[in-house]
């Protein structure tokens, strides 16, 4: 009997302890979680809205159709000369499927040239009014008065544009591949397929650099026109004027004819480095290496390096290894732009009117 009362007493004590100490904690727990969290999915709500805004905007529809048309045109022109190309290569170049993206019969530039030309424009056009239009229309301060974190806005702008771009470029890549399979009748090998996927991812990275740059301008400049023009100005400078600038510097720094071989080498490396630091150069280097597997190096090539090499294609891993600096550079440039815009947006005072 004693033991039974003992046990029942202990049970009672335990129950009171549970009721007094543990139960309130358990009951409070979900409440505490709720307090520290933003409305669930507020960020996703914003991303969804931005994505639907992008897809419905005339700007995106126009640019998208331009890119689709030019790319299809370039693929058709690649297919025109395709049978000759295959005959000429006679099988010792096994990656002929990739030629869809690089080959041309001379009437139109090839697919990847078009992408590297129109990609920046697309990136700039999707970001240049990201923040400043919201500010000018006074929607920013209203949206910010809802329980969301401030960085959700800029993150949502970036993520949504990136999502739309990614879907678009994968779509383009797969359309081209599909057309290729129908036209040639030979499916791509797994390695070719992987190379194309890498190329698409690289394109998205490159375009996202321009996207981030234009988001940065949209934070900095109150007028969308100013920010769009600044984006285009940077793009023009990098594609046209920078190479002129490099050649001027190169002429000025040219060593005399009496210079030693080391000096000439150093000079060559300087000029080379100045050219290769551009995002557009990084992109075109990386894409050509990925799409043309026979490219073995991107730097100056000496006779010693060539000695004893076999004239064959590189496996995908090796090609990726060659372009790793370029990929890192593109990612870094893109992150840098985003960080700049993030910081200046977070410090901004959001006023209406």
């Amino acid at each position: 009997m004693e033991t039974v009362t003992d046990i029942s007493n202990r049970m009672k004590r335990l129950t009171t302890i549970f009721n007094k100490r543990i139960l309130p904690d358990i009951e409070r727990e979900p409440e505490r979680q709720k307090v520290s969290r933003v409305a669930p999915g507020a960020f996703m709500v914003m991303v969804k809205k931005e994505v639907s805004d992008h897809i419905r905007s005339w700007r995106f529809i126009i640019l998208f159709s331009i890119i689709i048309l030019t790319c299809l045109g370039s693929v058709l022109s690649a297919l025109q000369g395709f049978s000759d190309a295959i005959k000429a290569s006679q099988g010792d170049e096994s990656f002929f499927f990739l030629r869809l993206f690089t080959a041309t019969d001379g009437t139109l530039p090839s697919f990847f040239v078009f992408v590297s030309f129109l990609g920046p424009l697309l990136g700039i056009s999707m970001g240049f009014d990201a923040i400043n239009t919201e500010e000018n229309k006074n929607t920013l301060s209203r949206v910010m008065s809802h329980p969301i974190h401030r960085d959700s806005i800029i993150n949502a702008k970036f993520v949504s544009a990136l999502a739309v771009l990614s879907v678009m470029f994968f779509l383009l890549g797969f359309i081209v591949m599909g057309m290729g399979i129908i036209a040639i009748g030979i499916p791509p090998t797994p390695e070719e397929f992987l190379r194309v996927i890498c190329f698409i991812i690289l394109t998205i990275l490159y375009v996202s650099f321009w996207l981030n740059l234009s988001i940065f301008f949209s934070v900095k400049f109150r007028q969308p026109a100013t920010s769009a023009l600044s984006g285009i100005a940077v793009w023009l400078f990098l594609t046209v004027f920078y190479s002129i600038f490099v050649s001027v510097v190169a002429k000025a720094a040219a060593p005399s004819e009496m210079a030693s071989r080391q000096q000439v080498m150093k000079y060559q490396q300087l000029v080379f480095g100045m050219q290769k630091i551009l995002p557009s150069e990084m992109f075109s280097d990386a894409t050509t290496t990925l799409l043309v597997p026979t490219i073995r190096t991107l730097g100056p090539l000496t006779a010693e390096k060539m000695y004893g090499t076999l004239p064959s294609a590189l496996p995908l891993g090796q090609s990726l290894l060659i372009v790793w600096p370029q990929i890192t550079g593109l990612v870094a440039a893109s992150i840098l732009c985003f960080v700049l815009s993030y910081i200046s947006f977070m410090k901004r005072e959001i006023r209406s009117g």
Binding site: V35, V38, A39, P40, G41, A42, V45, M46, K49, K137, N138, T139, L140, S141, R142, V143, M144, S145, H146, P147, I148, H149, R150, E349, I350, R351, S352, G353
Partner: protein
């Protein structure tokens, strides 16, 4: 019940060497309608921005419902509805869609949101414009939509920044009625800023006057006027008509002014043509009437004057101007 919902403690905001808000100490009670009054650029909007964590104070703290706005703005924004000075909506969305987006941002499930948005739009009187693009809304309609946007989260504190700006007089009184009604029904605390005194006077329980970043007075309108005009609490306005035959109007008037000044209790007298404004320590209107009538001119109007916000406001500016 009268616990304070909004508390400012030594709140200061500096832009470089310019001080926009200078050591603001104020607390606003639950269920109160508080009017923040002041000229443009007095720091009203900056104060509001700091309450919502949209800009950081240089020193001091703001607490809304006991939550610090600078360190935990999201929580504050969950409880606070804010109608900005010039509220903007996405032009190519309808009013309904704009509000649905806001409801989603507040984490309201879609099904519930639709019902709620319809109900709120009905309350602010926009149920007929529900499917019209927000870009086509008039200024007054946009303001109503803004109020609906504030109400969607069932706020316990409502902040309105210049809510009456740019609406026509009829719209203003309707809008203010609406605010008054909603705040009484929902028992929410309302803070509204304005430079328009008459409008705000009607609905505010208490006002604070804000000039150059400083809160120079706060209280209900009666307290304020007593505080300000404590030296001469009575003001009398008198208008006369002169008879040409008695003499030159200017001389007669000056004589009359001298006579009125002799009346015990009169401190100060201003003349505007044939209208006098007299400040005095006690109600001596009978005496003044006797003096005027006795001097041979006709008294056509004599009235005691009550103070509205306008006078309070002007008086503050005068004082400020004098002290500079």
């Amino acid at each position: 019940m009268n616990s304070s919902v909004i508390e400012f403690a030594g709140l200061t905001k500096k832009y470089g060497s310019f001080t926009a808000v200078d050591h603001l100490n104020l607390s606003i009670d639950e269920g109160e309608i508080f009017g923040l009054l002041g000229p443009n650029g007095a720091g009203k909007s900056t104060t509001i921005l700091m309450m919502l964590g949209l800009t950081e104070p240089t020193y001091g703290t703001v607490k809304v419902c006991g939550i610090n706005s600078t360190t935990n703005p999201v929580e504050v924004k969950r409880k606070t509805g804010y109608l900005p000075e010039d509220v903007g909506f996405y032009d190519d969305y309808t009013g309904f869609e704009n509000l649905i987006y806001s409801a989603r941002l507040n984490g309201i499930p879609d099904k519930e949101a639709k019902e709620k948005v319809k109900y709120i739009l009905d309350r602010v009187g926009l149920s007929e414009e529900i499917n019209k693009k927000a870009g086509k809304y008039s200024r007054g309609m946009r303001q109503r939509l803004g109020l609906a946007d504030v109400l969607i989260k069932d706020p316990s504190v409502i902040i309105l920044d210049e809510p009456t700006l740019g609406i026509d007089p009829k719209g203003i009184s309707e809008f203010l009625e609406l605010i008054l009604k909603l705040s009484r029904e929902e028992k929410s605390t309302v803070l509204l800023s304005s430079h328009h005194l008459h409008q705000v006077q009607k609905i505010c329980d208490r006002v604070g006057i804000f000039v150059e970043g400083k809160l120079i007075a706060e209280g209900d309108i009666n307290t304020l006027s007593n505080k300000l005009f404590s030296s001469d609490p009575f003001h009398i306005e008198a208008a006369i008509r002169q008879d040409e035959k008695v003499g030159s109007p200017d001389i007669v008037r000056n004589e009359l002014v001298e006579k009125i000044k002799q009346v015990a209790g009169v401190h100060y007298i201003e003349t505007f043509n044939d209208t006098f404004r007299i400040s005095c320590a006690e109600d001596v209107s009978g005496e003044i009437a006797r003096v005027i009538v006795g001097s041979g001119v006709q008294l056509i109007h004599l009235s005691g004057k009550e103070y509205g916000l306008d006078d309070i406001y002007n008086r503050y500016f005068e004082q400020n101007g004098n002290s500079n």
